[in-house]
Amino acid sequence: EQLFRGDQVLRITASNEEQITLLRVLGEQAELQIDFWRDLTGPGHPADLWVPFPSLQAVKIFLEFHSISYSVMIEDVQALLDEEKKNMTRSRRIQR
């Protein structure tokens, strides 16, 4: 089972077309293994970017260097998955 310990989802809001272009370039860097969960649609619209833990520093430095505003939407993807799994198990136990 693949684990996602420390992976984060960042909510990014590009303020202009130039930042959108930069984010698209970022998304094309295969070695970062990032994934746009909610895609870029235009300036002012939020995009959600899943970032594996090993790429976090590089991505955050990139965003800050280019003054692209972001917030952490999911602090630890694995923690949420663990919670979801627990809920499913509990729900099945209740049914029985």
């Binding site: 089972e1 994934d35 909610r38 999911i74 998955l81 049914q95």
Partner: protein
């Protein structure tokens, strides 16, 4: 049993397939189950057929969960299928639709991916087909349709989340729907449901040229998102795929529209703004509930505007 099934929880493939059997058993005169093909890993591709009789009636196609990680979508599919059954004979709109049309509903459109999200990688989006010459697995089944296939709005890299596949309809999950809709020949609407961006979109995605019925589709989308918002205030964007998000090649709705299905839409269901694909199960019922009036708007419009 059918009465104790918990619609407010996420379920495995087996649980959902079992539930479908129970729904059919409980409503044999309204619901039947059709197998339209097999997935790459040989799982059956099931479609629920809601019909009150007649042969080759005009039909509405619904599918949920072509991107396996979008769990709120499959869960909304289960709730919606149940709602259709419950409302037939009660709600005048549902009754009118099913008295003259059939509804085909594929709740788990990408079963291999769905099972993989439960067993190995909760965030898996694509199919599970092996890609020759690459260690990366899977094709994005919403870039695999023969509508602008291969353009820049998809990826040729098997490791990408939007990998289009080696050729159009290479994925058995896609080919099964294509064959079914073509052989049916009387499908009037295709509604493909995804999550999560809160949008209601229509053709085109592979080009910026407006669809021939752009104005009608746009007005219908406007009404649908307005009725959706009336429930909990969830705001949806609407418009063509290319105008609203970006150029996307090889998508379900574009293929449907280019193959004569005028009322082709794709939903992106809600997020609370925090969890993305990991929406807590407490969101299932609110999401499904608010989506229902919008779905009904489209289906009623299809009924009232035969072509």
């Amino acid at each position: 049993s059918i009465s104790t099934f918990d619609f407010a929880s996420y379920h495995t493939l087996e649980e959902i397939y079992d539930w479908m059997d129970m729904l059919v058993d409980d409503h044999p005169n309204l619901v039947s189950k059709i197998q339209i093909g097999q997935s790459y890993e040989n799982r059956p591709l099931y479609v629920l057929k809601f019909s009150t009789g007649g042969s080759n009636r005009p039909a509405i196609w619904l599918d949920t969960g072509i991107h396996s990680r979008e769990w709120i979508t499959q869960a909304t599919g289960v709730w919606t299928a149940n709602k259709i059954v419950k409302e037939y004979g009660q709600d005048p709109s549902v009754t009118a639709i099913l008295d003259s049309m059939d509804i085909f509903f594929e709740i788990i459109t990408n079963p291999d991916g769905f099972v993989f999200t439960h067993s190995s990688n909760r965030l898996w989006r694509k199919t599970r087909s092996i890609n020759a010459g690459s260690s990366c697995v899977g094709v994005d089944p919403n870039r695999n349709w023969d509508a602008g296939f291969g353009g820049s709005g998809s990826s040729s890299d098997p490791c990408s989340e939007t990998y289009r596949g080696p050729y159009a309809h290479s994925e058995s999950e896609v080919k099964a729907i294509v064959d079914f809709i073509r052989s049916h020949g009387n499908v009037k609407s295709v509604i493909s449901i995804h999550s999560y961006s809160q949008m209601l979109l229509f053709p085109y995605g592979y080009k910026r040229t407006p669809a021939a019925h752009h104005q009608e589709l746009n007005e219908l989308a406007k009404k649908a998102v307005s009725d959706l918002a009336a429930m909990y205030g969830t705001k949806y964007a609407y418009g063509s795929v290319a105008d609203t998000i970006y150029l996307a090649d090889g998508t379900t709705v574009d293929w449907a529209y280019d193959n004569g299905v005028k009322y082709s839409f794709t939903f992106e269901l809600r997020d609370t703004g925090r969890y993305g694909f990991l929406l807590p199960s407490t969101q299932i019922i609110p999401t499904a509930t608010e989506t229902w009036p919008a779905l009904l708007d489209i289906m009623v419009h299809v009924l009232e505007h035969p072509y």
